[in-house]
């Protein structure tokens, strides 16, 4: 056991190991910090900006996934300022995400659905975007539909970290898409599943 650090999250005192990030520390305190791109055990990349929190004494909000705990720090996770940014990002993601929640197999365990519910987003206030990507159903166990992708890049990072290196981004920005080499179906790529 390393050194323990005391900090306050939303007014709750919590003690965690040194070097823990704020998302884990908040989870230990029973506070959930919204996030889409954070993955336990991997370095936070701060892409989704949903985990923005305000640290007392800090000027601007910081990303909780990439901020280490400090002794005596006091964190507010639900200030109006960061909630506003969260709602904005969710609004944008929902604008390019099919709203098929009734028939979607992920319904109920979908984080995006949960956050949209929390922020009372029924429909995006922005322009609906459609890409028309084909679904990859060649693998009998994995159905991959890029239409539903929120570009969190978790699959790409995990695939890279475990050494398989099959998935990669093609393109940049809104048009980005997770692809295998030459955009082949997962079955024909080097996927080891």
């Amino acid at each position: 056991m390393g050194k323990m650090v005391n900090l306050k999250i939303d007014g709750k005192e919590v003690q965690v190991d040194e070097g823990t990030n704020l998302i884990e520390a908040a989870a230990a305190a029973g506070v959930h910090i919204p996030n889409l791109c954070y993955m336990k055990g991997m370095k936070g990349i701060g892409a989704c900006r949903l985990c923005l929190v305000e640290v007392e004494g800090g000027k601007a909000p910081v990303i909780a996934c990439n901020t280490k705990v400090k002794e005596g720090m006091s964190v507010e996770t639900k200030t109006e300022r960061v909630q506003e940014v969260r709602k904005f990002v969710l609004d944008l993601i929902v604008s390019m995400h099919p709203l098929d929640c009734m028939t979607c197999t992920k319904a109920g365990v979908c984080t995006l659905q949960q956050y949209a519910y929390d922020f009372e987003l029924k429909e995006s206030s922005f322009t609906r975007k459609k890409f028309g990507y084909p679904t990859d159903e060649a693998n009998p166990f994995i159905k991959r539909d890029p239409e539903y992708c929120v570009l969190c890049s978790r699959c790409v990072r995990v695939c890279r970290a475990q050494g398989t290196n099959v998935l990669e981004f093609s393109g940049r920005g809104v048009g980005a898409k997770v692809v295998t080499a030459q955009d082949k179906p997962l079955q024909e790529s080097g996927c080891t599943f």
Partner: protein, 199 residues
């Protein structure tokens, strides 16, 4: 080896080039649109969501306004995007874009566009060119300058009694503005399409 430049080593556009491209325009809507287009074309890295999705959405809205089909909601959306991008994006590039948009939104230009007016005469969908018949000497220079065959008319020749006056066919005109400097008599003017009375 040193001869071949690898793809990721080629000089990239940075924010200065983006700003320089935007500075060429006078109309706030066109400036903003140019800025966001240039920003999306190269410097935008796509690593954080507010900037990547936000600037794309801003471009969609700006295009609507410059096409003349924008409304209040579009301006509000752009303002919201700029505000949140300033707050939420990760690096200085996203924040610069947001600041630029906020700066352009301050004037009355966006409101003018919603009312169907582009004072700087730069938004193609808000303007149209017209030949002023009183000033036209029928030299035919504009007809030669027009690459799109949008100008109708007959050069005046002394032995002919009747003539076909010069006029611009709006259906063919792409509003490139090439005919304006071609006329030495200043007989072609740019008028606002939506406020003009069509003859």
């Amino acid at each position: 080896m040193s001869e071949t430049v690898r793809k990721d080593e080629t000089p990239k556009k940075d924010m200065k080039d983006v700003l320089a491209a935007a500075e060429q325009m006078k109309c706030s809507v066109q400036r903003s649109q140019r800025f966001v287009e240039e920003f999306l074309s190269e410097p935008m890295c796509g690593k954080c969501h507010p900037c990547m999705l936000g600037s794309y959405e801003a471009l969609v809205r700006l295009k609507r306004i410059s096409a003349g089909i924008g409304n209040d909601a579009d301006v509000k959306a752009i303002r919201r995007i700029a505000d949140e991008m300033l707050e939420g994006s990760r690096c200085i590039k996203g924040k610069d874009t947001a600041k630029f948009l906020l700066g352009e939104l301050q004037g009355a230009v966006f409101a003018e566009h919603l009312a169907g007016k582009c004072t700087a005469h730069e938004c193609p969908n808000y303007i149209m060119s017209r030949v002023i018949p009183e000033k036209c000497v029928m030299c035919g220079l504009c007809k030669d300058a027009c690459r799109y065959n949008a100008i109708l008319g007959e050069k005046r020749s002394s032995f002919r009694a009747g003539f076909l006056p010069f006029e611009i066919r709006q259906k063919r005109c792409v509003k490139c503005g090439d005919c304006l400097p071609a006329c030495p008599y200043g007989a072609i003017e740019v008028i606002e399409e939506k406020t003009a009375v069509l003859v």
